[in-house]
Amino acid sequence: MVRENTGLPGQPDAPESPLRQILKFLSSMQLGIILLLLLAAISVYATTKEMNVAIGSIYTSWWFVGIMAFTALNLFLCTVERAGPIWRQVFKPSRAVTVEAIKRMPSHRAIKVSRVGSDPLEAAAGALAVGGLRVSTQEGPDGTVVFGEAGRFGHFGSLITHISILLILLGAMYGALTGFETRGGGYAGESFNVPEGRFQAAISKVTMEYMPEGPQVRPRVISEVTVTRDGRVIKQGKIAINEPLRFEGISIYHSTFLWVPHLTITNPDTGRTEGPVKLYDHDRYFYRDRELYIHTLAFFPDFTMNHQGMPTSRSYATNRPVLAYQVVYPGGTKEPWGLLELNKPLTVETKNGPLELTMVGFENAAVYSISRNLGRPWLFTGSVLLILGLYMSFFLFPRQVYAAFDAKSTSYLVGGRSRNKLGLEQLMDRIEEEIRKRKGE
């Protein structure tokens, strides 16, 4: 949009339309800086809160999402507004400038020479070319100007950076709107449904691999899973930490593993045995014969007692598997907790009569995080573009140098602009040196 000006002397510029003023404000860098500082300040405050509280009350709140959206809008408008001028800067730079304009450039110098020669600008063009610039000559208002440029695509850096951040934000938004996050898992032989993804996953094997350093180090648990939909296998594979199973934009990640003790419960009065039942930590199994629950507290693969007299595990090796359990009555009253060793039946006296508990085995179960993120390709593309954009912005320094010759003072006027001020000064030194050399100075 061009501001209207009749050109009459003394007449002030016509005011911009309100819409233009609003757009200008929304796309302004000033607003961008304020929004970034605001996001930083809120984030600082949020990290003083407990993580889940911060996620629930700050990061996912309407106002935080609103500030993010406002930042995205600012970025978008800024990108749109700058696209045209940047395009012109790269493909249609102003090659013809006045001598005054050269003198006003961030770096400029007058190089006086004693010998002029037939074509003084030839030396300037040669010097600019030696400086690694692409040279052309143009007739300007004050005569011929030699124009040299390099790294012009660096101008696109900020544009690409801004577009990449928009892509990342859009990808995250698209992923959140079309995706889901849930959990599932089990031991070998179990399966679980994921209604959000319309599939079922059957676990066929869960194995524990100890690290070479021994069982003191948290082992790696690998599970084999078959994913089916309407009875048809859609994916089959191994899942381990850092090795998710991916299909249709859905990923199944190994989250953690659990121990699953196998328990039999016998009524000593009747000799009737239930089980073996497979119980996770903190599971409750209702034993009808005695009207009570068997509550599993924790499983210790390599049982020992610590200094405080509490059960613990020396390692992940199954050297001495012990289950900590508790009898809980329907009203909530509990018996003191007890310990159950592998294959050692234990008679437990309860208010409702005795029962015999035996841990007859145990196995591992895998716990998974399941998510679908269709925004992943956007996020990847955005990430790659972000690095490329930053590299172009900061390391491909666009340089523009203009040179004119003033026959009256027998001086070359050389002016240049670049974001890399030190680099530009070095380039100007080189050009000056080259001009002097070519002029036999």
Binding site: A46, M51, E213, R376
Partner: protein, 301 residues
């Protein structure tokens, strides 16, 4: 130095010796740069060479550490701290080599920062019982056994190195500006006068600060991106709003504001210097503050 990995006693001794030696040589280089900045110009070259030797010895330490833990030494405060110091010195040595001896004065401001980092790994845990920096040789937990670990940590230390260099330059700018505003002090003390003369002009320092910030910013971006990709493979989501992630992003925001303000608003001088200093503080908080004051999923960092 106990740990779950059994280390050959000779290797252990070599590792400890190389670490102690590199710390001492870093200290000597810091002294050399300081003497240089106070007018003894002949100390500049000595300090620069000493720093290069220290870097070599420190490289030897990192290699030995890698041999002793049979993996990249990138995990925990001790290993990360060492890598961070090494990267900071590497970036400075490279800059010094590129810019020649004109910038020996920067070493006088950067090396105290490096010595402070070394103190965090050595002296501070000895003085404050609450701070423990374990040098135990432990294997990588399964969650860290990822292709992305090397890229994430490498980019992180390079980013931090750039920001440390920018911070040192910001300190120089403040020193130079402060001294300029006290001509009485410069007249009264030839010692202080020599310091003022040794410091580059504010414009040059701002340019240097900008370059170091840009370097740090690029690597900080790579660090955040590689961390997000790794988190996606490991935990099933790119972003978990974990305090470490958030503070990395806060640092990124601060430097983004600095770069934009400089670029498009034409900010310079004290305002940009203060932004860089705030950026360094947020970076340090990401490294240390989050570990000691906040909790999150980056417990291994």
């Amino acid at each position: 130095m106990g740990g779950l990995i059994q280390v050959d006693p000779t290797n252990l001794m070599i590792e400890k010796t190389l670490f102690t030696l590199s710390c001492l040589i870093y200290l000597l280089a810091a002294v050399g740069y300081t003497v240089n900045v106070f007018g003894k110009k002949e100390w500049g070259g000595f300090a620069a060479n000493t720093l290069r030797v220290a870097l070599l010895v420190h490289t030897g330490f990192l290699v030995m550490r890698a041999v002793n833990v049979s993996r990249v030494p990138f995990v925990g405060h001790y290993e990360f701290g060492n890598l961070f110091i090494w990267a900071t010195v590497l970036v400075y040595v490279w800059t010094e080599w590129r810019l020649k001896d004109k910038y020996h004065a920067v070493g006088a401001f950067l090396m105290p920062v490096v010595v402070a980092y070394i103190a965090y790994l050595t002296v501070i845990p000895a003085l404050f019982a609450r701070i423990t920096v374990s040098s135990a040789h432990n294997p990588l937990p399964p969650v860290l056994q990822s292709f992305w670990l090397k890229f994430h940590v490498s980019s992180s230390v390079m980013g931090y190195a750039g920001f440390s260099l920018a911070f040192a330059t910001a300190l120089m700018w403040l020193a130079r500006t402060g001294l300029e505003s006290r001509p009485d002090l410069l007249k009264a003390s030839p010692f202080i006068n020599k310091l003022a003369v040794s410091l580059p002009r504010q414009k040059t320092l701002e340019e240097y600060m900008y370059r170091a910030s840009v370097f740090g910013f690029l690597f900080q971006t790579v660090m955040i991106i590689t961390g997000a990709i790794w988190a996606d493979a490991s935990w099933g989501r790119y972003w978990g709003w974990d305090p470490k992630e958030m503070w990395s992003l806060i640092t990124w925001f601060v430097f983004a504001v600095y770069l934009h303000a400089r670029f498009t608003r034409g900010w310079h001088g004290k305002r940009t210097v203060m932004l860089v200093m705030v950026g360094w503080v947020t970076m340090m908080f990401t490294w240390l503050g989050v570990a000691w004051l906040l909790s999150g999923i980056h417990s291994f960092g």
